[in-house]
């Protein structure tokens, strides 16, 4: 092990910024991060062992105790549930003879849930040793169980299991725009770098992650910093359940995305870029590395890009299962090899980002758009969309529709038009922008896709009339409790209180004041949380409570109070040990004498 760790640390130059990458490799090799490895890494990187433990305990894909030689994770997104995930999990658990959350005794396999893997258009999905599995059903589950039980090495597994398709159903301005390699860079240098920034400004392009900050403004701010060392970061940590467009863009438009980053680097004066790729997209890693190599060989990256005095290269960092790393400052912390805890702002990344240096962080789609705008000009892009939301938006559509996949629309398109395209009927509502977005009911389908109406990072989940809204809300609320980084009190404690309070109500144990109590927690979490995760964690509850108050009220018993825990179950141990089962050895959940 010592040699393995030594070589690994050497590859990464013994840099603490690469701790997460190192620990990913250790996890992959030893199926956990062993005590001995912690010791060796601490010595080689000159960091306290606590920092290694903190990172290992922060990310869902790293563990201090052993996982199976085959670590099987099943995506717990609501869309996977809708495609039969719960039943599939039971089947797999039986086939593999291991309970979810457990390691089988022989150490061969462990099984667990994982947050949305970005494959909602081809679920139920999962990961085996980090590699994506799609469209799981009994047949595939049976094959997988056999392969594991026969200890077949992963490279020998049938490739159909790992097949990931793009499912682009409606290309628009960007997806139809096929750029030759280097076209954006050539156009930029021909037009002039600052003139290209003007074009991006003219295009009205705003950040595609959902927040919608003006891209040209961000780049200009960065370029005007006095500090000369600057960074460009592409945020490919799309963890919002229901979104998978970046997966497709990186699979089929990676050149354009990298070119957009390079354009940004020229404008901001940066020499180093990073692609922060979510761990769930490990299957894209080798392909992307190859593309980067191609670009280096083609003179599109490296010390003299296009033979000019312009030095820029891109490095890929993999995440390790943490939704919070989609938040730009948490992402930067993660890039620095730390737990992904959002920073205090100000200062903003554009002034003090990676290693405290000015840093532009943009979404994958934003860089793609920037590359296309560099070629086609600002007006080309601005001709689509609305006054305040220029251009198009790429959506990841999943849930109850005939054709789940990728759709690109000009801003201003109505929800109804979108629903017509993807093939839906009997729609109950749509979750726009994922769990952190908003649930809109079927009375609101004339609303528009736009920053001024329905802003979204691209997640679009359709629910038909057979779905139970409270099941959806429960799934989302549990997701946030699981993904809260725990930095601030309102989110750390509040998201778990929300989960428990909602469970109480949906479990049929709610009474008169329980919805009010739920709303009270919602307001605290929303108002006082440190970052976007906490500030939006109550949205699933708040947006459905606003639209379907009667749904929540109907769950409540017509009594003033019911305990939040199971009283009779609380007597079970004492009952068993005293060997009693008489009437006095039981408690009703609500007193007979209740008012």
């Amino acid at each position: 092990m010592k040699e393995f760790i030594f070589d690994l640390a050497t590859i990464y130059g013994n840099q603490p910024t690469h701790l997460l990458q190192i620990l990913r490799a250790v996890q992959s090799r030893f199926h956990h991060v062993p005590e001995k490895a912690i010791e060796d890494i601490a010595a080689l990187l000159h960091i306290p062992r606590t920092r290694i433990i903190a990172v290992a305990e922060f990310y869902s894909f790293l563990h201090l105790s052993p996982r199976g030689r085959y670590e099987l994770l099943i995506s717990d997104s609501i869309t996977d549930h809708m495609l039969g995930k719960i039943e599939l999990m039971v089947y797999l658990s039986n086939k593999l003879r291991v309970a979810p959350g457990q390691l089988r005794q022989d150490g061969l396999v462990s099984l667990n849930n994982t947050s949305c893997t970005g494959l909602c258009d081809q679920g139920p999905a999962g990961l085996v040793n980090g590699y994506a599995l799609t469209k799981l059903d009994h047949t595939k589950a049976g094959i997988i169980a056999d392969l594991i039980n026969q200890t077949t090495p992963l490279p020998e597994w049938p490739s159909e299991l790992f097949s990931v398709t793009d499912n682009i159903y409606k290309p628009g301005l960007l997806l139809n725009c096929c750029l030759d390699k280097g076209a954006a860079l050539t156009s930029m240098f021909k037009r002039g770098v600052s003139e290209t920034l003007t074009e991006i400004d003219r295009s009205g392009l705003r950040g595609r992650g959902g927040a919608g900050f003006k891209t040209a403004l961000k780049w200009r701010f960065c370029s005007e910093e006095t500090e000369q060392e600057r960074y460009v970061v592409c945020n490919a940590d799309e963890g919002e359940p229901g979104t998978f467009k970046d997966r497709v863009l990186l699979n089929s438009y990676a050149h354009e995305v990298f070119e957009g980053m390079t354009v940004c680097a020229a404008i901001t004066g940066s020499t180093q870029g990073f692609l922060y790729l979510r761990g769930e997209y490990l299957f894209l890693y080798d392909k992307l590395q190859k593309i980067l190599d191609e670009r280096r060989q083609a003179g599109l990256l490296g010390a003299t890009v296009l033979g000019r005095n312009f030095n820029f290269d891109i490095e890929i960092h993999l995440g390790a299962g943490a939704y919070i790393c989609g938040e730009e400052s948490a992402l930067i912390e993660s890039l620095e090899g730390k737990p992904g805890i959002p920073r205090n702002r100000p200062p903003y990344p554009v002034t003090q980002g990676y290693l405290g240096k000015p840093t532009v962080v943009n979404n994958v789609e934003t860089f793609l758009a920037a590359a296309a705008i560099a070629v086609n000009g600002g007006n080309w892009f601005a001709s689509a969309g609305t006054e305040k939301s220029k251009g198009t938006k790429i959506l990841s559509i999943s849930g109850d529709c005939d054709r789940p996949g990728i759709y690109e629309y000009p801003f201003g398109t109505t929800i109804q038009d979108i629903l017509n395209d993807c093939g839906t009927s009997g729609v109950l509502g749509v979750q726009v922008g994922g769990p952190s977005g908003v649930f809109i009911s079927n009375k609101e389908f004339n609303r528009k896709l736009a920053f001024e109406d329905l802003a979204t990072g691209g997640s679009f989940i359709v629910f038909n009339n057979t779905r139970n809204i409270l099941d959806i809300v429960q799934n989302f609320t549990r997701f946030f409790a699981h993904e809260s980084c725990g930095f601030c009190t309102p989110c750390r404690v509040g998201t778990s209180l929300l989960r428990n309070q909602l469970d109480k109500i949906t479990g049929g144990h709610g009474s008169a004041g329980d919805v009010v109590a739920l709303e009270e927690i919602c307001q605290l979490v929303k108002t006082y949380s440190h970052c976007g995760l906490g500030q939006t964690a109550a949205n699933p509850i708040l947006s459905t409570l606003e639209r379907y108050p009667e749904l929540y009220q109907s769950q409540l018993k017509k009594i003033s109070y019911e305990p939040g825990f199971d009283l009779d179950a609380a007597l079970e141990t004492a009952r068993r040990m005293a060997n009693r089962n008489d009437k006095a050895a039981h408690l009703a959940q609500i007193g007979e004498d209740h008012d």
Partner: protein, 252 residues
């Protein structure tokens, strides 16, 4: 000309680079806080010091003061919510004051008193947490840790060590110790370290000192947290404070 901001209608001067909390402290305006401590890098995690700046919720210990800011601090709405955030801390850990040596000298408790917190309001989590009494002079009762990171910052910034860190994610966060065994006895912690004395709750305690001052005669039995806060920061004359405060302020 000095720059000023307004807190609850009171005009307060500040220097460029100061946070709202720093400006307020110098001016003698108390903003409730737990993870903040003068002399250490602001952390901004407990969220008790949230104020409204031009209508927006901001963490005053990290948010820069700016000319003309209108800050709401001591409002009923904010204090009601601060009480609920404090209650969140009380149900998250296991804070059983009558059984805690720190009672009466505890900042968490004093903030509860300040906010007129009478109960814990939310359902308890009953987290199972350990006690580390391995060190000869210092002990950790994890039941009372609120993850303010003051011990970690003090160890790093004042003691030049790295004895403490916060690990884990979400509600499963935990304080960890930098030693091969994970125990305090095998760490570099010395009883004279700032890190051993900075804890705002009873999570890190100095052994054999717990009952030197009887309950009922302790810091917050006779002084409010705002008084103590200013006495420690030195921005107001410390009148008739018990010796324990003077000792604490010297250590800082």
């Amino acid at each position: 000309m000095t720059k000023t901001l307004i807190i609850d209608g009171q005009t307060i001067p500040f220097e460029e680079g100061q946070t709202i909390m720093e400006a307020a402290t110098v001016a003698g305006v108390y903003i409730p806080h737990l993870c903040h401590h003068e002399g250490f890098t602001p952390h901004g995690s407990c969220k008790l010091c949230t104020v409204k700046v031009n209508g927006r919720a901001c963490t005053s210990c990290t948010f820069p003061a700016a000319e003309g800011q209108e800050v709401v601090n001591n409002s009923k709405a904010l204090n009601d919510d601060r009480r609920k955030i404090t209650q969140m801390l009380f149900v998250e850990g296991n804070h059983l004051c009558p059984g805690c040596e720190k009672s009466g000298n505890c900042t968490l408790q004093a903030v509860g008193y300040h906010l007129n917190m009478l109960d814990n309001h939310f359902p308890h989590f009953y987290a199972k947490r350990a006690v580390d009494s391995s060190h000869p002079d210092v002990m950790i009762d994890h039941n009372r840790c609120i993850f303010c990171t003051l011990c970690a910052r003090a160890s790093q910034e004042k003691d030049g060590k790295d004895v403490f860190a916060i690990s884990g994610r979400g509600i499963t966060k935990q304080l960890i110790v930098n030693s091969p065994s994970g125990l305090l006895k095998d760490s570099e912690l010395d009883v004279t370290d700032a890190a051993a004395h900075i804890c705002p709750t009873g999570a890190i305690l100095i052994k054999r000192t717990g009952y030197q001052i009887p309950i009922g005669e302790r810091l917050y039995d006779h002084h409010t947290i705002d008084e103590i806060s200013f006495a420690v920061s030195g921005s107001r004359p410390s009148t008739a404070l018990p010796p324990s405060v003077a000792v604490e302020s010297e250590k800082d």
